[in-house]
Amino acid sequence: MRITVRINGDEHQADCWEGESLLFALREKLGFPGSKNACEQGECGSCSVLLDGALVCACLVLAAQADGHDVTTVEGLAEGETLHAVQQAFVDAGAVQCGFCTPGLVVATADLLQRNASPSDDEIREALSGNLCRCTGYAKIFDAVRLAAGKA
């Protein structure tokens, strides 16, 4: 089947097998591999994208369900070479190791800060509780969120 999805502001089309997830379609068919395939069961948040503005796991969206909808991926955050404030904060805080969780965390953090410009530590922890990181122990990720929120 053919789906049409507005990704990071531009319309894209792809032919999909009907059982494909939005994540698979983004990564393998639509040219947006930034969202990561870590668990494909909604447990790790590495594939976090905004679907019509809501933070979701792309692995749990049927590609066909995104047909005609808006998706924002990690690739849509930077303005050319200028990193999004959250991305820059992740770089500066040393929040990136292997980086496989990073795209999902960057999207989830951008979503959090867009809703809550100065989150408390508890709010940061709860908002990011669906994004697993295996390398950092999260400390530098929290640093990055606080840095991006202008509270560091």
């Binding site: 009907e18 059982g19 796991c57 749990l60 369900q65």
Partner: protein, 260 residues
């Protein structure tokens, strides 16, 4: 495989009648895991995302009608928080924010897992499940709707359209035990209310939801009564003995909250 995307409830019911084997998919938080891990390959998927009638919630005469497409995030953050507090507390424990943005109350009912977090808080509020088909609509009390582990009374041509509940206004709470401090499937969960009587229902401790009640005067024996009503098993998430023990502790603590 085909994906059918109806734009109205009538169309959805028509398609479900024509394709009784179709897998309905709303939030996808259970269905997509089954697809991604090859646990099933339906001939037809019925995508309910575009059916506006299933979304949101409304007040009726003395009752609330929660659309089957109502998400946990909408329950957790909206006005329902004050009307159905245990359901809102339960919603906050479901998966991650990403899951709560997608997962729906209808999906939780349709999956009919013993661990379904929405079931205990709905059962203590005497929720009724609205099942619709081209043949008409019927209302099934939640206690009758779930018939066993991942089994329910939904007919092949039916869809869950709503959950109807008349909020009791009773003091209530929800608690859930997992092996870590977020993002867990319940090892055991519990909803308790104290209105005209004491009410409790638990998750992951019986094949289908059980409602336990007692007069308020019998609060002292209620924790043991609740634990005694459970019929849990040993599995990868926990042991039978622990679940029974934890239910008694949780019920005692819940009563301290709701009787305060």
């Amino acid at each position: 495989m085909d994906v059918l995307t109806p734009r109205s409830l009538d169309e959805a019911l028509q398609l479900k009648a024509e394709h009784p084997d179709a897998w309905p998919i709303q939030g996808g938080t259970d269905v997509m895991v089954a697809l991604n891990f090859d646990r099933g390959r339906p001939a037809t998927m019925l995508n309910l995302n575009e059916v506006q009638e299933l979304r949101g919630w409304w007040r009726g005469d003395g009752s609330l009608r929660l659309g089957s497409g109502l998400t946990y995030a909408e329950i957790e953050h909206g006005e329902l928080r004050t009307v159905l507090p245990a359901l809102a507390e339960a919603s906050r424990t479901v998966g991650s924010p990403q899951i709560r943005n997608r997962g729906t109350i209808g999906g939780n009912l349709a999956t009919s897992s013993p661990a379904g977090d929405a079931l205990p808080p709905l059962l203590i509020e005497d929720a009724v499940v609205e099942c619709a088909s081209v043949r008409g609509t019927r209302e099934v009390p939640l206690g009758d709707f779930v018939t066993g582990v991942k089994r329910n009374a939904l007919a092949a041509d039916e869809l869950i359209t709503a959950v109807v509940v008349a909020p009791s206004g009773a003091a209530q709470t929800f608690m859930k035990i997992g092996p870590r401090n977020a993002m867990v499937i319940a090892v055991v969960s519990l909803a308790v209310s104290a209105g005209d009587e004491l009410r409790a229902s638990f998750g992951s401790a019986s094949p289908k939801p059980v409602l336990v009640t007692a007069p308020r005067a019998e609060a002292a024996g209620f924790p043991a009564q609740v634990a005694g009503a459970a019929t849990p098993i040993d599995d990868v998430r926990g042991t039978r003995a622990y679940r029974v023990h934890a239910l008694e502790v949780l019920t005692r603590r819940a009563l301290e909250r709701v009787l305060a």
